[in-house]
Symmetry: C2
Subunit: 193 residues, 2 copies
C-alpha cells in the first residue's frame, strides 16, 4: 500500500470534480481523458483504477452534478423561495460560469446522445427536480403542476443556453430578463383552477 486509507476515494472524487467542470466547459466529447487526469494532478494510467471507461466517468459526473443541483435548489427554495432560485439561475454570473453551472444547460443535447444508463440516470434526476418545482405551484392541480414545472424548467434551460450562445451582451441580458418574466407568468395561479 503506497497511499493512506482514504486516498483512493478522495482521488476519485477529485477526478469527477475536475471532469464535471471540463465537461460542462467544453462538452463531453471535446474533452479527453488525458486532459482530465492532468488537471487532477495525475497521469493517463491511473484512470482505469478508478473508472472502467469514459462512459462510466460521464455517468458519475452526470449523477453527481445533478444530485448536487437538486440539493441546492431544494435548500434555496425553502430558504428564499422559487422566484429567488429563478433569478439566480437566470443571472449573468450563472451564464458566465458554465463550468460550475447547470449540467442541463451545458450538456442537454449531448446527454440525449449518451448511453442508455446515462440517459436513465438523467431521467430520474430530472423527475426529482420537477417534483420540487411542482410543489411550488399551489394553484395548479397535480397533473398541471408537473406539466407546468417541466415547461418552466425547459424555459430556463433553453434561455440560459441562448444567453450563452448569442454574441450580443445586451441581447443576452434581455434574454435572461425576459425569461424571468415568462417563467413567472407560467408559475402564476391559472385564471380558472
Amino acid at each position: 500500500m503506497r497511499y493512506e486509507k482514504g486516498h483512493k476515494e478522495s482521488t476519485r472524487q477529485q477526478i469527477t470534480e475536475v471532469a464535471s467542470k471540463q465537461f460542462r466547459d467544453q462538452g463531453v466529447s471535446a474533452v479527453g481523458l488525458a486532459a482530465i487526469m492532468a488537471d487532477a494532478g495525475l497521469t493517463n494510467g491511473a484512470f482505469y483504477t478508478h473508472f472502467s471507461s469514459k462512459n462510466d466517468l460521464v455517468r458519475e459526473c452526470v449523477e453527481q452534478t445533478l444530485d448536487a443541483q437538486l440539493q441546492a435548489i431544494s435548500r434555496n427554495i425553502s430558504e428564499h423561495g422559487l422566484e429567488a432560485v429563478l433569478r439566480q439561475y437566470l443571472s449573468p454570473s450563472h451564464r458566465d460560469d458554465r463550468g460550475h453551472g447547470c449540467p442541463s444547460a451545458a450538456l442537454l443535447p449531448e446527454i440525449s446522445r449518451q448511453s442508455p444508463e446515462i440517459r436513465h440516470a438523467y431521467t430520474a434526476r430530472f423527475n426529482a427536480v420537477i417534483e420540487v418545482i411542482a410543489q411550488q405551484l399551489p394553484g395548479h392541480d397535480p397533473d398541471d403542476a408537473h406539466q407546468t414545472a417541466r415547461a418552466m424548467f425547459a424555459l430556463v434551460v433553453g434561455s440560459l443556453q441562448l444567453a450563452r450562445a448569442v454574441d450580443d451582451p445586451a441581447l443576452s441580458d434581455d434574454i435572461l430578463e425576459g425569461a424571468i418574466a415568462a417563467v413567472l407568468r407560467l408559475a402564476a395561479r391559472p385564471s380558472k383552477a
Copy 2:
C-alpha cells in the same frame, strides 16, 4: 478541368448537407471530417478545396440550416398559423429526427463554444426568427412581443432537448404536450396590454 461546370458547387453543397445532418445527429465535435467526406462520396483530400477548415464548414452548416429553418417557419406561419408551426416543432417526428431537425435544439450548447464568427452568424439568424414570431403576437407591445417571442423559442428548444434526453417515452410525449400548452399560454394576449 476534370469535371463539368457546376460540379464543384454541387459537391460543396453535398458536403454541407451531409455535414449538417451528421453534426445534428452526433454533435459537432464528435464528427470527424473523414466521416463527412466518406458519407458525401469523397475522400479526405478533397475537403480543403471546398473549405479552409472545419470551423469554416461548421459556420456554413449553421448558416444554411438556420436560413432554411427561418424560411420554413415563415412560410408555414403564413400558410397555417403560429399554433400549427408550434405543434409541428414539438411533434414526436421532429423529436425522433434530430439529423434533419432544429439546429438550436441539436447544437445550442455547442454553438456557444464555437468561434466568434459562428456565434455571430447564429445571433443574426436567431434575431430573424424572433422577429417572425414576435409579429404573431398582436396583443403585446413591441418590446414585450420580442421578450415573449424569445421565451417561447427558448421553451420549445429546451422542451425538445428534454424530450430527446429522457429515456421514458411516455414522459417524453408529456414534455412535448406540456410545452405546447405552455407556449400557447405565453402567446396569449396579456390581461392588461
